[in-house]
Symmetry: C2
Amino acid sequence: MTRLKNYSEGSTKARRYRSPEFVSVDHLVILAPGLLGASVARAARAHACAHHITVWARRAEVRAALRDQPWIDTVADTPEHAVAQKPVGRTLVVLAAPVERIIELDRLIGTSLPAGAIVTDVGSVKGPVCAAAAVHPRTTSAVFIGSHPMAGSEKTGWEHGTDTFFEGRICFVTPSAGTPADAVHTVEEFWRGLGSTVVNVAPEKHDEIVAHISHLPQALATTLACALSQKDGQWRNLSGNGLRDTSRIAASDPAMWIEIFQQNRAAVLIALERYESELAGFRHALEQSDWPALREQLARGKQWRDGFNR
Amino acid sequence: MTRLKNYSEGSTKARRYRSPEFVSVDHLVILAPGLLGASVARAARAHACAHHITVWARRAEVRAALRDQPWIDTVADTPEHAVAQKPVGRTLVVLAAPVERIIELDRLIGTSLPAGAIVTDVGSVKGPVCAAAAVHPRTTSAVFIGSHPMAGSEKTGWEHGTDTFFEGRICFVTPSAGTPADAVHTVEEFWRGLGSTVVNVAPEKHDEIVAHISHLPQALATTLACALSQKDGQWRNLSGNGLRDTSRIAASDPAMWIEIFQQNRAAVLIALERYESELAGFRHALEQSDWPALREQLARGKQWRDGFNR
């Protein structure tokens, strides 16, 4: 607690986003903190959303480095020990690993959880994670509720985490039909406490939405970059901001994205099919010099883009 | 000249990008100033690249408004009068209209130009403009040299022009085989004086390059926006920065872009074909769960995007 006090006093950025009725989490556990997990811990500390913060990382050298961080109270040696540290009070576990490791970790800690513990994650695909979590053995009254904060960066690694990472970002929370309302409320209030706007949808609906608004743009940026990679490499540096912005996320981590496409394959294929049909319409209009049709697409695209409210 | 002096003294932003040997233009004429044309005038004034600046705008009310601007010396009533204002010294005319109007304006002023005058433009497609200019009647020793500054904004209109608009931007200069070297040098030095990096290529090569680095990204942003416009309109506001950046230029002016696609149709179709082949490869890999192929595309796209030097 001394450490927490010192950190809060030292931070000029500490702001409270929590609603008045939100009681901060007694024990926040982050398993496998990378960029997102470290940011969860730092933001929770900065905004006083957790009393005690425990982390576990797979590699011993990362655990050693994390022991020096002021935004961590305890570094545990195993995931099971991490979640069992503080059996009294409200425990929130955040699985911050890539999607496939999230499922493994959830299975691993299930019966080590204290009663009433809530487990959530930060994975980009929710259907497979929530379906797996629903059948994992789990301490009575402990629950899993999926989360997906729409925050990221081309950077990776816990060293790049910040305490403002989730401010102003959307965070999906994806309970299943039978999830207790108070547990859902706790997860939602936690993300709000970190500065996010919470959107509550079913896991499958989430996956359909992100297939369109996140995975499809990634596919386009990647394939645009690939198409241009076959031309003179100097061309990219002759461009205006249009190409830079359109292709920016092509620089994202392939290892992370291959998992996302694997996990959300069916929904992405549907989104791609819709997109290919629009692109075929565009090409056809250009081929046929059908300027009214091309103008309609340009105007429709503009109208949609002008509707961004942020 | 008094006005120029006052403006320069009053500006804290005035910087000199001109090389030591560049003699500033005696008479800079901007025809049909919108966002780009106004920015050319303002930047030329701020960087002392022109002694006298004359503009002409099609609409009387715009001409009236321009008369109050400190970065303009003379507002002419016709394009012919504008270019003929100062028959002594070095005249540079910048045709700042949309592509089709550029060709009309160049034809209109051809025989009103003083001897030795240089005409350039700011159009996004160079082949048709330069080909038309080559056969327009023109005062002896006056020449046309195409330009295309890679600078823009979703905003339009002369009111939004700035004197830093071209700083750090690429500007293509596209002389034909027979263009006199000293005229090319003057145009290149003028754009450098405004803060741009000049790239000298033939008109057809320019059109091939921008089909890939500018017109293809526009087609993708537009069709992405169109595909998403068929889904729940609220979804766009749930996205992270990825969708915002990938789709940003979908908000561009349809009237400007329909002209660009008309003028550069053949080159854009070639770029689109290359792109569609990459996208088909991506979809095929996803359909077949061919993860090595998908990973190769993600990695190739990242490698290309990481190679941006700005």
